[in-house]
């Protein structure tokens, strides 16, 4: 929104410079010049804005991977935008991030979780948020993959080199009293 605010204020500023030309024709000309200038400058600023907007992080396991990675890098996640989650809201969020031209950093599947997990969900686009996100992002130029994927005797492995799940000691809080 700040980027958009700056964009609008630049257009207005250009218009105020042009308006003193004088008369109705002058005002019309000024408006045309201002609009054309706003459009040109708008595109430039939109590009600049996309560079200035914080990147967002996607991947499996919000709690243990996506949010800690984003915090470490000072990036954002869906958590910062969508407070009432649904698959539709998730898809709309990804589309919005793409429209805004944001860098989208993919930290990939939770390979560890898949080992320890009870079920395989990634192949079901319609009911697996991360799979849907990957699908929607196909061909998106500002998509960046931050994880490695390797084949091992146990199947596919990988992850984000250098990333650790937060140690549990940081999560110990006061005993729960229901």
């Amino acid at each position: 929104m700040n980027a958009l605010g700056r964009l609008l204020s630049v257009g207005s500023e250009w218009g105020s410079y042009a308006s003193p030309i004088g008369g109705a024709a002058g005002r019309g000309l000024a408006r045309e010049v201002a609009e054309e200038a706003s459009e040109t400058i708008g595109k430039q600023f939109a590009r600049q804005a996309s560079r200035e907007l914080k990147p967002v992080v996607i991947g499996e396991n919000m709690r243990e991977r996506v949010v800690p990675f984003a915090q470490q890098k000072e990036y954002l996640t869906i958590n910062d935008f969508v407070s009432n989650w649904s698959m539709e809201a998730n898809a709309a969020w990804i589309r919005r991030m793409m429209r805004e031209g944001r860098r989208i950093i993919d930290i990939g599947p939770d390979f560890y979780g898949r080992h320890a997990g009870l079920r395989e969900v990634s192949c079901h686009l319609h009911r697996h948020a991360y799979a849907l996100e990957r699908y929607l992002l196909k061909g998106y130029p500002n998509y960046e993959r931050a994880f490695v994927r390797i084949r091992t005797p146990r199947g596919i492995g990988g992850g984000v080199p250098g990333l650790s799940r937060p140690a549990g000691s940081g999560l110990i809080i006061e005993p729960f009293v229901p």
Binding site: R63, V67, V121, V148, I173
Partner: protein, 174 residues
């Protein structure tokens, strides 16, 4: 976070806590672990600790699933997996409970615990929970998965407690 009220939570995180707190009561009552909670919309955490060891249940809202992990509370677990593919990273970890956890044949246990028909039914419930945001379906899935996690913990109780108690005795903890 203290004084957590279930009424402040969204229905899915509430279902997670209600289900797991009920099914894992034996960890407190029989095993002597202390419980801790950390609610968060996209992924709440339920933690049971004894000495420096923890059994963790991490809820993933978007998939309506729960990750189980056992480890020392101060071990930072690398994101890369499996250990044999990243030996340098894993050689730095000295955590007997996490090592035990990595050896558990969870996938095989899961296949044996649930019949094919039960797994199919679970898949249907998961779809209802995630796509339709059906809280009762989500709760039913969580109930089944909590039963499985409780089964695993009880089945491997001797090995788990051996690690926990041996380390506690070494360090002179109660």
């Amino acid at each position: 976070m203290s004084n957590v009220s279930f009424t402040e939570l969204d229905p899915f995180n509430r279902a997670f806590f209600e289900t797991y707190l009920s099914k894992m009561r034996f960890l407190e009552e029989d095993w002597g672990f202390a419980k801790h909670v950390d609610p968060s919309y996209y992924g709440s955490l339920l933690l049971y600790t004894k000495g420096r060891f923890a059994i963790m249940f991490s809820f993933e809202l978007r998939d309506n699933r729960v990750y189980l992990r056992m480890q020392q509370v101060d071990t930072a677990i690398p994101d890369v997996f499996p250990p044999e593919a990243f030996p340098d990273v894993y050689s730095r970890i000295q955590d007997p409970l996490f090592e035990l956890f990595l050896r558990l044949p969870l996938r095989e246990e899961y296949q044996q615990f649930f019949s094919k028909a039960e797994r199919k039914r679970l898949e249907q419930l998961i779809e209802l929970a995630v796509v339709q945001r059906d809280v009762e379906a989500a709760r039913a899935v969580l109930e089944k998965e909590a039963e499985f996690h409780a089964y695993i913990l009880r089945k491997y109780q001797p090995q788990i407690l051996q690690v926990v108690e041996a380390a506690s005795a070494e360090s002179g903890e109660a």
